[in-house]
Amino acid sequence: MARISDRRIEHLLRRAGFGARPDELELYSEMSVAQAVDALLNYDRIVDDVDTFIAKPGFVNTTIRGQFLPQSNIIDARQRWLFRMVHSDRPLQEKMTLFWHNHFATGYTKIAGALGAAEATRYLAAKSSEDRGKVRGQVEMLREKALGNFRDILIDIAKDAAMLVWLDGRTNTKAKPQENFAREIMELFTMGVGTFTEADVYAGARVFSGWNLARPGVPADGSLHYEFVYNAGQHDTATKTFSFPIYADGNKTIPARTAADGMQDGIDLIDALAASPATARYLAAKLYRFFVSELGAVNVTFVERIASVYLQSRYDMKTVMREVLLSPEFWDQNAYFARYSWPVEFVVRALKDIGWTGFSVNDALTPLSNMGQILYEPPDVAGWDAGQAWFSTGAMLARMNFASTLAGNQKFNLATAVKVGNAARTPEALLSYFVAALVTAPLDGGVRSEWSTYLRATGAWTGSDAQLQAKASGLVHLIAGSPEYQLV
């Protein structure tokens, strides 16, 4: 656990990843900031083999019930994602996937209610390589396109089987247009609330009429599956007029088309939404909150600059994220520890900081739920209510209690690490060791001396194994459960 500490690299990895394992810290600390950003962005140069290490020694455990089936069992899907967050060598890919999962927030329960539990997991989390019908679940699509083109992501989302169930697009027909997806693609996925009218919602519903689901494949070999189909017979072919421009020349009307050509309506609308300056600013503000700072108002200069990079790059998220991670706002001293960690950020960072050997990510799932975050189960299509809303008393207790569970689980390893690190001699040595290992926001005055008092509270210092295990785990519990550790 002894670590080389470069506070800039730590900041970068807290934001562009989920904190740093000792090996990550070692790797990135040899780079300049520019090199580190470059390495994080160009993750496609790093082989994506993290899943092959599941259930291998040296990695965080998973709990396997019979078979490990992340493509059909939602618990296993959650375990796999947490495993990746801990062990992936492509941290920014995982972080962006989480960002998009929150952005296109699609919840398991509604889909399971419609299609059943195994199918719901499949359309959210299956990799096409492990599915007999080549189904690529929504979050796998988002992972694949994590730094891709936003317009392409929107097209894929509009055709995504889970989304077509979640926002009812599968039932959108010309006789009875379904407004749900049309509303949310404008309100939550692109331009933001207040940028469109009720008439736009009606028109949008008609645009996407016929964007439904088909079910090809055969049951016998497991290839039967749902996939997007453009159902020409169910498309409303009449013109659709919006309150905002659809075409570059300012034209607000999607022309009448034949039913056969009608799918172009949806492409035209998505193109317009992707190209909208409102979308550019909306995304930029969300990126600011997720990557830069949650303190005070959103920085307007940042938003304008990132929005223009978004538009100039024709919606290329890699270009946008390079600008975000190299921005002066990101590196401002006031941006350090200026975010409230999301529950998964907290849990994964704690595992990276405290240790994982002998711990199963399965045992983080209930605590995460108590902290207010269940992967693949955002509370609604607006995603999680982040920031201060994560810190209700119950959720704070859940964080403190997870710190306790993990520290207890790692008791032996922690004591061993202290001895190896030559920090067992005095309470002060032990304290210095752990304060360096678990990086927090600057401590409030007096906290460190309270911890020191704790180490001396129950008897003379002997440095015995029993004492080291008790005090190391107790102290790690207090540090990881402290308010300062919750900020990232």
């Binding site: 039932t171 933001g192 207890g408």
Partner: protein
């Protein structure tokens, strides 16, 4: 997006300078002598409740013609009489418990509640209902503002939110604990005995810090402090054994915790509970056993009747007012998916031992004539008749005995709305 909601409340540090004086427990003796408390339970039906399927104008011909697949047949509704516009109304067939409460005069149904230019967005809509402030939907919650208006020091258990995260309606300078389960609300330790006690004592001492000039950190300290200060009292609620038993739904279990807190007199005055799934865009199945909306009604009914009966058995019904809201009602005409899309005005419920039950306001006329004054959006949606803030005003004044004009930023009092 709710980005600006994440900004820090003004007043930062001072907001969390809470003194943890032990609350005055209301003794059984005092209660027996007639000393009463007044508890408010705010109930959020999340997703936009289809009021027309809950309080049904079953004789309106357009109810059936505009909802051919999902209308409940007139013969199956639970009739509750006619309102002042002589529209015959019936409760959803599954609301048998609410029908009993209605018949006992302890359930008020306030029809067509909403506001001008009602938002059809779940998120903006919820913000507006939570703040009672359509012009500034990022303000603190209306119930939160009430808590902030109480004389300090405010007991850290003055409010009890039964969900995992803080709902906007309770956002306040006063920290409101989130206690989803009283049994799980405890402080654990990797050690036992003296070591565990030393950890807890350290955590308690540290939590009492108030970081200066660091509102973001002070906020987390505030949560930590409120958690530590409320552990023991909440633990006492975990031992509550109600009679009758509550159903095994999250909603009913939350109500059981509320009843436990009221019964054990731990000092809490404002509770928040929610039940979700009301965003019924498709397969609404209003009147099919096991159907989506039918199940919503079952959850709502069975939870509320258990709560009502429990409190009644304990003589605590007169201390309690339940007030429900939802972000919007739904469109009048069903869509092609046998569901309904986002609409406008809805129905609010008030339930409790001192409620003057009955029907308030008038039902919409569902005639799709664009000039129909009870509808809006080309007769697509129900137009509001009673501003929802008038209902809040009645609760603030009639139940919480406080000046509503201050908390609501205007005079929303309305005569004929004396349901409490």
């Amino acid at each position: 997006m709710k980005v600006t909601r994440r900004q820090f409340v003004k007043g930062g540090v001072a907001a969390f300078t809470v003194t943890f004086a032990a609350p005055e427990f209301l003794s059984d003796v005092a209660r027996a002598q007639g000393s009463r408390t007044r508890n408010l339970v705010v109930l959020y039906l999340s997703g936009g409740n289809d009021a027309l399927s809950m309080v049904i104008p079953y004789n309106d011909p357009f109810y059936t013609s505009r909802r051919p697949a999902i209308a409940v047949p007139a013969g199956q509704v639970l009739q509750i009489g006619t309102d002042s516009s002589r529209v015959a109304l019936g409760l959803h067939p599954r609301l048998t418990g609410l029908k009993q409460i209605f018949d006992q005069g302890r359930l008020a149904l306030i029809q067509r509640t909403g506001y001008d230019n009602q938002s059809r967005s779940h998120f903006l809509g919820t913000d507006i209902w939570s703040t009672a402030d359509p012009d500034n939907p990022q303000a603190l919650g209306w119930v939160g503002r009430y808590l902030d208006s109480l004389p300090s020091p405010v007991d850290p258990l003055i409010g009890w939110n039964t969900t995992a995260s803080l709902p906007h309606v309770l956002q306040a300078r006063t920290a409101v604990p989130a206690i989803a389960s009283a049994a799980g609300y405890s402080f654990s330790s990797p050690n036992v005995g003296d070591e565990a006690a030393a950890e807890r004592a350290t955590a308690l001492r540290i939590a009492s810090h108030v970081p200066v000039d660091r509102p973001e950190l002070a906020f987390v300290y505030g949560s930590s402090q409120a958690a530590m200060a409320t552990l023991d009292r909440v633990a006492s609620v975990a031992t509550y054994r109600p009679s009758p038993a509550y159903p095994n739904t999250g909603f009913a279990q939350a109500l059981q915790a509320v009843a436990g807190a009221i019964s054990k007199s731990i000092g809490t005055r404002v509770f928040y509970v929610t039940t979700g799934g009301f965003d019924t865009h498709s397969a609404q199945n209003v009147n099919t056993a096991g159907g989506a909306y039918y199940n919503l009604m079952a959850t709502l009914n069975d939870g509320l009747i258990a709560f009502y009966t429990d409190l009644k058995n304990q003589g605590l019904l007169e201390d309690t007012l339940v007030l429900s809201f939802s972000e919007f009602g739904r469109r009048i005409s069903e869509n092609g998916s046998q569901g309904t899309d986002h609409g406008a005005a809805s129905v609010m419920m008030a339930m409790g031992g001192r409620v003057n039950g009955g029907l308030y306001g008038t039902a919409p006329d569902l005639n799709p004539d664009p000039k129909n004054p009870t509808l809006e959006n080309n007769a697509g949606d129900v137009r509001y008749e009673t501003d929802f803030r008038s209902v809040y005003a009645q609760v603030l004044e009639g139940w919480l005995a406080t000046d509503s004009t201050k908390l609501l930023g205007g005079n929303f009092r309305k005569s004929g709305l004396e349901f409490i």
